[in-house]
């Protein structure tokens, strides 16, 4: 009997190792370990053994069962792994084939930049206001301390809707300063981006319609130091940390003192190069302390409140950001242009 079992062990393990797929293995399991299997057949002969021999033989038989099961299981694992490997190989794809994409739309590059600016100011407690483009001369000029004789009021410069020059297309976003001062509770911290219009023929750097971003703060104790701190921060956010700025006296009728903010040319580090036209500096925006006359004209007591304002051109900013060389591209809206950003 021991011999029988030994033979069964040899034959079955050899068969298991030779099995080529999981089905064969299952058949072998039935053949050797099944209810009518060969091991059962051998065990049936246990009755012929003596009572002393039986436990030892039983133990041997159990061991044999265990060994065959182990062998089958091991082989099954091997075969499954091999099968999976084969399947994976069959499923292999050329990963260099193009991906399947839906179509995503693109924001206009200029509004990319505008949204970035809005986010910067919102982070500093500003709100965004919008206002009329068809504007009264009063708001576009008079209340901004731009008197009747000023050249920007000429019909050669500004688009008018009526003969008495009282309704026009706003030439700047600055009338939003007046609207904000007249309608909003104090303190005020706003930016007002929008379309503005000037009588310029279309060329690579001019357009009769373009965009500005106006900003204004009115509060008690607002100073030029505050203007500098805020605008320095904004410029750092736009142009990167460590951007060197310079404030330079300038003139706007509705701010006093007025200034322009330059950044040091990033290309040449201030030495002077074609990018900065040899000046070493690039003009970024105009700003100043809101003129006391303008405050008073809007019913705000300049003895109590003060404020500062700034304005910047959006097109120039976007063109600088993306190195766009021709302003016309902005308004032509060619898909091949739009989808670059």
């Amino acid at each position: 009997m021991k011999e029988l079992m030994q033979r069964l062990r040899d034959a079955s393990i050899q068969a298991v190792l030779a099995a080529n797929d999981v089905e064969d293995l299952e058949q072998l399991r039935v053949r050797y370990l099944g209810k009518k299997g060969e091991l059962t057949g051998i065990l049936r002969q246990m009755g012929k053994l003596s009572a002393e021999e039986r436990p030892a033989m039983g133990q041997l038989a159990n061991q044999l069962r265990g060994d065959i099961e182990t062998a089958i299981e091991a082989r099954r694992k091997e075969l499954t792994a091999a099968m999976l490997e084969k399947k994976l190989e069959l499923e292999t794809v050329d990963v260099t084939l193009p991906g399947e994409t839906g179509r995503l739309g693109h924001k206009h590059p200029m509004y990319n930049v505008l949204d970035q600016i809005k986010d910067i100011f919102i982070g500093m407690g500003f709100e965004i206001v919008d206002g009329p483009e068809v504007e009264l001369a009063d708001y576009n000029f008079t209340k901004l301390n731009i008197d009747e004789g000023h050249p920007s009021r000429e019909w050669t410069d500004t688009f008018y809707f009526n003969q008495d020059s009282s309704v026009l297309l706003r030439t700047q976003t600055s009338p939003m300063q007046i609207h904000a001062m007249e309608t909003r509770p104090l303190p005020i911290r706003i930016i007002a981006p929008g379309r503005v219009y000037r009588k310029d023929e279309v060329d690579a750097t001019h357009s009769p319609m373009f965009h500005q971003i106006e900003g204004m703060v009115i509060d008690k104790g607002v100073t030029m130091a505050d203007l500098k701190a805020t605008l320095n921060l904004v410029v750092e956010k736009i142009y990167g940390k460590g951007t060197v700025t310079r404030f330079r006296p300038h003139h706007f009728p509705f701010t006093e003192p007025s200034c322009e903010l330059d950044i040091q040319c990033h290309k040449c580090g201030g030495k002077g190069c074609p990018t900065c036209k040899g000046e070493g500096w690039i003009e970024v925006l105009g700003a100043g302390m809101v003129h006391p006359k303008v405050l008073a004209g809007c019913g705000i007591d300049p003895e109590v409140y003060s404020g500062w304002a700034f304005g910047m051109g959006l097109e120039r900013l976007a063109m600088g950001e993306y190195k766009i060389t021709d302003l016309r591209l902005i308004f032509e809206n060619d898909e091949r242009f739009l989808r670059q950003f």
Partner: protein, 906 residues
């Protein structure tokens, strides 16, 4: 607020010679170099655009004296010259014929740089060494305006004669001295040439004669045409010859110097080019800085140096008084606040001295003659434009400052006839205009060679009036661009005195006694109170009062206690904030601390409406649409292009009275033409597809003349994979994503811009939101587009109004759903949308979802009918839906469909 490129055009440029500046402030170049000067001036408020080192443009050009001259052995027109260059002798080959032994000429020696960047190297010309090049005026970037004596006259040299027709020469090649050419003109040989002064030569001839000539191209041995009657050597003009007949006898050649100079002298220094010229951009509020003295004042304050001003002194030794000869009447005191004049007699018109020419040239002006140059010099120095009249041309000695009369005209100094209108201020004599006030003088009173008496005008004119006149006449001059900013009324007297002082200095005439000074309204001095605390409060600084006072004094302000006297030239200063700017400029904008002084007192953030607009854009982009930005103005003809009827009330647009052109002349009342224009552009450049959106304004007229400016969401597309339902899908997705409720679509066949069978109005409930569909093929054709265009126009305000509140959570279903499909047959024309609405209305509480899955019309249904199949999902919230409930729901639906549409189950 920011200065646009165009606005910068209005900013005036001022070229400042550093040498001239040094006359008023001691700022030598070797002490304050360009960089230091430019940066300091810029940050104190006078922005430097660029600085030009004039000497860099002319290097290695030396004065040479020609010591020997012989014909080039291998050329019919070149000369080989030996020249003394100071420290050495050089050989130079030249093609110019106007040089003679003894002449002083500019020579660009080996390694020289000429204006324009041309470099000169030694080399060989037809085998002969040439160690440089003699220079003409042009090569030194000069003209005869700079050096009138350098005008060249050329004699016709018979050896250079090239007959127009070789077979029929007018002058025989064999002609010999003494032969007749025509009339009294004979051929003669030059036997000797001797210089007889500037541009004068004494020429000895054979047959024997001696004559004087201005022709500079004569040398011993030349054969010339000699007019025995006039005793002169003939020029080409005298022979009625064409230039090509005498190709080398040209009125051009080397610049023969008659300056106080020696061989070896540097031409750059001789021409005053050892100077640096700083170009400033002056803001319109500071016309006082459009002159050397104004900038000197700024420079003195910037660098803390003394400003050395000069008080003009006029001897006026001529006798006689201007008041006895001239009378001035200001008829328009508003437009001419002051008119000051002085008289010069025994005028001697001549070129200006070199120093004056240099300064004018370096400031960008051309020297003309001493009198004209003096007026320009004074304008550059004092900022006060001046004019010089030939007094003999001022009828009856009367000057009337008046508006032009209807029909009057004047030929201005530039030779153009100008029609004048009654809004233009003119300087007139008793009858006619003799100048356009502050803009340009008239030819009728121009200073000419024989002018004997000159009236100097130094006046003040109203800025806007001058600007408008100059614009209307299309001539912005150096004078008008200064006047238009509003000049200092107090400045006229000093300027006219300075001009007279210069007349005496240059010996250009004799100044008469007296001044005519018409000042209709006295000048009122302006004062501002000095309030140091307020200034510091505005700037965020703690500048002490003595510092403020010292800054103001340096700029010419006066101080009397705390009362600041504003100098007459500072029309821009009237308020303590202006004083704050003055203090800040010289304290240093960049010294003002960087400090958040106010507490963060506002919350900030996007408003819900702005948030909605952002999300709407985001949604459009997630659908694949690209954002565009279009012009707000359009052409009225675009309404025709989109098919609107002539009387469509929507055509009532705000019209720009002074548009750039027809295409940008009215404010759009619809975004459709803007979108179609962009689609067309994309189509025309052969882009395969374009899917676009814009959230843009339209402009609707209000009774008060202003506009309502609502926003519109505009979608537009063409390309493959596009049809009505793709477009509709976009709209549906937008409604779903933005939680705007369920849109209903109603066929629209009457919109002239859209395809009558592929257009729908979009509603939510009764609220019309907009329109969408395929653009009418005729409209597409109007744009030259031969493909299907799809557009939608949705009112942004309507979309916003539909925005629901924050979504409220609904529990996830706990019980399974039951799905049933139904197919009904109905009339072919019944809109599926109506069926769906009917199903939704009749489906009761169990109907959860409804999806169309088939529409069929054809053989298997009756003619005029169609079969429509829906899949219905039903569910109860509180239990598993029973069959009975499902059947009840279904029969209710079918009953409703049958009743409303006669639809029967298939």
């Amino acid at each position: 607020m920011p200065s646009s490129p165009r606005e910068r055009g209005k900013v005036n440029k001022m070229k400042l010679s550093r040498k001239w500046l040094n006359e008023f402030v001691d700022l030598p170049l070797d002490e304050v170099d360009d960089r230091a000067f430019d940066e300091a001036m810029t940050v104190s408020g006078s922005k430097v655009e660029v600085t030009e080192d004039l000497s860099r443009e002319m290097q290695g050009v030396k004065v040479c004296r020609i010591t020997a001259l012989k014909k080039h052995p291998d050329s019919d027109h070149m000369w080989i010259a030996q020249a003394d260059a100071g420290d050495k002798t050089v050989q130079i080959v030249t093609g110019a014929w106007n040089v003679h032994v003894g002449d002083l000429v500019p020579a660009a020696l080996d390694g020289a740089v000429l204006p324009g960047g041309k470099t000169i190297a030694a080399g060989k010309l037809r085998g002969e060494t040439s160690e440089g090049m003699f220079c003409s005026l042009k090569e030194l970037e000069l003209t005869t305006h700079d050096f009138p004596y350098a005008e060249i006259t050329a004699a016709a040299i018979l050896g250079d004669y090239k007959p127009l027709d070789p077979l029929k020469p007018s002058i025989s090649p064999a002609i010999a001295p003494g032969d007749r050419i025509f009339g009294k003109v004979i051929a003669a040989r030059v036997t000797g040439v001797a210089n007889a002064g500037v541009n004068r030569w004494r020429v000895a001839l054979e047959p024997e004669a001696v004559c004087e000539t201005a022709c500079q191209n004569l040398h011993e041995g030349d054969l010339v045409a000699y007019d025995t009657a006039k005793g002169s050597i003939c020029t080409l003009a005298d022979l009625h010859a064409e230039q090509k007949e005498f190709p080398h006898c040209i009125p051009d050649g080397i610049f023969i110097l008659h300056e106080d100079c020696r061989p070896g002298d540097d031409m750059a220094v001789l021409l005053g080019r050892d100077d640096h010229v700083v170009e400033f951009e002056i803001t319109p509020n500071r016309p006082d800085c459009l002159c050397v003295i104004g900038l000197a004042r700024e420079a003195a304050a910037t660098f803390g140096r003394e400003l050395k001003l000069h008080e003009p002194v006029v001897k006026a030794a001529a006798g006689g008084n201007v008041n006895d000869l001239a009378k001035i009447v200001i008829e328009e005191p508003e437009l001419c606040p002051r008119y000051t004049a002085r008289m010069v007699k025994n005028v001697k018109i001549a070129p200006s001295p070199a120093w004056m020419c240099e300064r004018l040239r370096n400031a960008g002006m051309r020297p003309i003659n001493n009198l004209v140059d003096i007026t320009n010099y004074v304008m550059l120095e004092y900022g006060q434009p001046m004019h010089a009249f030939d007094f003999s041309c001022v009828g009856e000695g009367e000057i009337h400052v008046r508006l032009a009369r209807e029909g009057e005209s004047i030929r201005t100094l530039d030779g153009t006839e100008r029609k004048l209108t009654p809004s233009m201020l003119c300087i007139c004599d008793k009858e006619k205009p003799v100048a356009v006030a502050g803009v340009m003088g008239g030819e009728n009173s121009e200073i000419v060679g024989d002018t004997a008496m000159v009236l100097f005008e130094s006046a003040n004119f109203n800025g806007p009036s001058v600007r408008r006149t100059a614009t209307a006449l299309g001539m912005r001059t150096d004078a008008s661009s200064r006047f238009e900013k509003g000049l200092d009324v107090a400045g006229t007297m000093k300027a006219v005195d300075r001009a007279c002082e210069l007349v005496e200095l240059l010996g250009a005439g004799e100044v008469m006694d007296g001044v005519i000074d018409m000042l209709p309204k006295p000048i009122e001095p302006k004062t501002v109170k000095l309030e140091p605390e307020k200034i510091n409060a505005l700037l965020g600084t703690d500048i002490d009062e003595p510092t403020m006072r010292s800054i103001l004094l340096k700029l010419g302000f006066t101080l009397d206690g705390d009362v600041i006297g504003v100098p007459s030239w500072r029309g821009d200063v009237e308020h303590y904030s202006d004083i704050a700017e003055e203090v800040a400029r010289f304290y240093g904008y960049n010294e003002i601390p960087v400090r958040f002084t106010g507490a963060l007192s506002t919350a900030g953030g996007f408003s819900p409406l702005q948030q909605f607009e952002r999300e709407l854009g985001q949604t459009c982009r997630s659908l694949g649409l690209d954002e565009i930005i279009t012009y707000s103005f359009i052409s009225p003809s675009y309404y025709d292009k989109i098919g609107w009827a002539k009387d469509d009330p929507r055509r009532d647009s705000l019209r720009i009275l002074n548009p750039l052109g027809e295409d940008t002349s009215i404010m759009r009342t619809t975004v459709l033409p803007s979108m179609l224009e962009i689609l067309t552009r994309n189509y025309n450049v052969r882009n395969r597809e374009a899917w676009l959106y814009e959230i843009g304004k339209i402009y609707l007229k209000k009774p008060d003349g202003t506009a309502e400016e609502p926003k519109v969401l505009s979608l537009g597309a063409f390309g493959p994979k596009l049809d009505f339902f793709r477009l509709k899908g976009w709209v549906e997705e937008i409604f779903a994503a933005m939680a705007l409720g369920r849109p209903e679509f109603e066929a629209e066949s009457g919109n002239p811009s859209y395809h009558p069978g592929r257009c729908a109005r979009v509603y939510v409930g009764k609220q019309l939101v907009g329109v969408l569909g395929q653009i009418h093929p005729q409209v597409a054709k109007n744009y030259g587009v031969d493909t299907e265009l799809y557009c939608a126009e949705l009112s942004f305000e309507a979309l916003w109004a539909l925005k629901g509140g924050t979504p409220v959570f609904r529990p996830l279903p706990r019980f399974p759903a039951v799905t049933r499909d139904i197919a009904v047959v109905c009339d072919l024309r019944t809109p599926v949308g109506e069926l769906a609405r009917c199903i939704r209305e009749s489906g009761g509480k169990y109907l959860e979802e409804l999806a169309l899955f088939d529409v069929y019309a054809g053989e298997r249904v009756a003619a005029g009918k169609k079969s429509v199949a829906f899949s219905l999902t039903m569910r109860a919230e509180d239990q598993t839906l029973t069959d009975e409930h499902a059947e009840e729901t279904l029969s209710a639906i079918l009953a409703a469909l049958a009743e409303r549409f006669g639809a029967v189950i298939r």
